[in-house]
Symmetry: C2
Subunit: 203 residues, 2 copies
Amino acid sequence: MNDKFFRLPLEKQQRIINAAYKVFSENSYKKAPMSEIATEGCVSKALLFHYFTNKKELYMYLWANAIEMTREAIIEYKTLETDDFFEMLKRSLLSKCSLMRDYPHLYVFCLRAYYETDPEIQNSIQENYNDVSKVSEMTVFEKIDISKFRKDIDIKTMYAEIFYAVDGYMLKKYRSNCIVPDEIEKEIIVLIDFWKKVYMQEV
Amino acid sequence: MNDKFFRLPLEKQQRIINAAYKVFSENSYKKAPMSEIATEGCVSKALLFHYFTNKKELYMYLWANAIEMTREAIIEYKTLETDDFFEMLKRSLLSKCSLMRDYPHLYVFCLRAYYETDPEIQNSIQENYNDVSKVSEMTVFEKIDISKFRKDIDIKTMYAEIFYAVDGYMLKKYRSNCIVPDEIEKEIIVLIDFWKKVYMQEV
DNA sequence: GTTTGGATTAACTGAAACGGTTAATAGGAG
DNA sequence: CTCCTATTAACCGTTTCAGTTAATCCAAAC
């Protein structure tokens, strides 16, 4: 890729990248056209190819960029620096909301990229992501204080259920084309407070 | 469409329809090729056009078919003939699992079709679906006995959360390409029992 | 065993979309 | 005016698309 891309005004960089995140989250790799990305980003297709040598390179840049930004956001929000599960969940989701302000389609892009089946792409993706997610999931279970939970529920099921719900929620927001970070942040907090009330031991 | 389609052996009808559900649930309407459906269904593209005059007609048939089958399944499982929310939820989800045995991609097809933005399609879809879903959601809230729930939780939030989780769960199953109805049925039951324990008033 | 008729397809068509390239333009700085 | 960089319109060869046509396959009827 062409380093000059980074010398563009930040607004333009983001406009182009967001257009790409959007088109790649709506279509499979193969059926996401570079021309559509260009139009969506209000630049010419030729410019896209000027900065990114080809489609695959652009896709891979988006992926690496997504992982890196996610990791930074998690650190910035001190996500792992607590032993309270719901606090950790809140920090994790709020960090994702903050990413969403700059990159509204990043979350769904990742959701889709992880299951991308195109041979050109597949290999480079999953291994890389497993590094991040598996490790972090283990870290979570090591750190959290499970004594605060109700004794009669299965924590793994709870954990799974919560993440299904978050994905389902985000997907709905995304599909109905209303990604408004402020609103999502509020609704996420409502959900977390709800879970807290339901799953924590009463005192 | 050509009525002779229904005179085909049932196995073949389903094979073709399932191929179509699959391709349309992976791609937007515009980018779902008839040729891919044909290949997936092990018939020639020409045969597809012999039974369905064009792509739009096929899509609309799939949609009407999905709605109709869903309604029948809901009735068959006596979904609305109880005032216990979790019993109703179980019947509703098990009825969907039973559909899944014959039509593995129907659920995700519907999820996608509802938000389809192609002008050729959009209008004919949403209104039609709202009839079904809005009415049934209202019926649910009229029928269920809310006295059994914990007093300290917001039922609307619970309701929303549960459906986010189901969608998130199904999406994950679908994306990771492992739609095994028996397994899904088991896991759904685990989830429902989990919710029951969590949300119902203890006695 | 030949005819008939419906099921099925290979091969085709014209148009559009695709990834990627090229050669030219635009516009600001010196 | 000159230089330089960002930018694009126009283009290229290829592939893909929805939809068509004319031919084949095959079983049942005669």
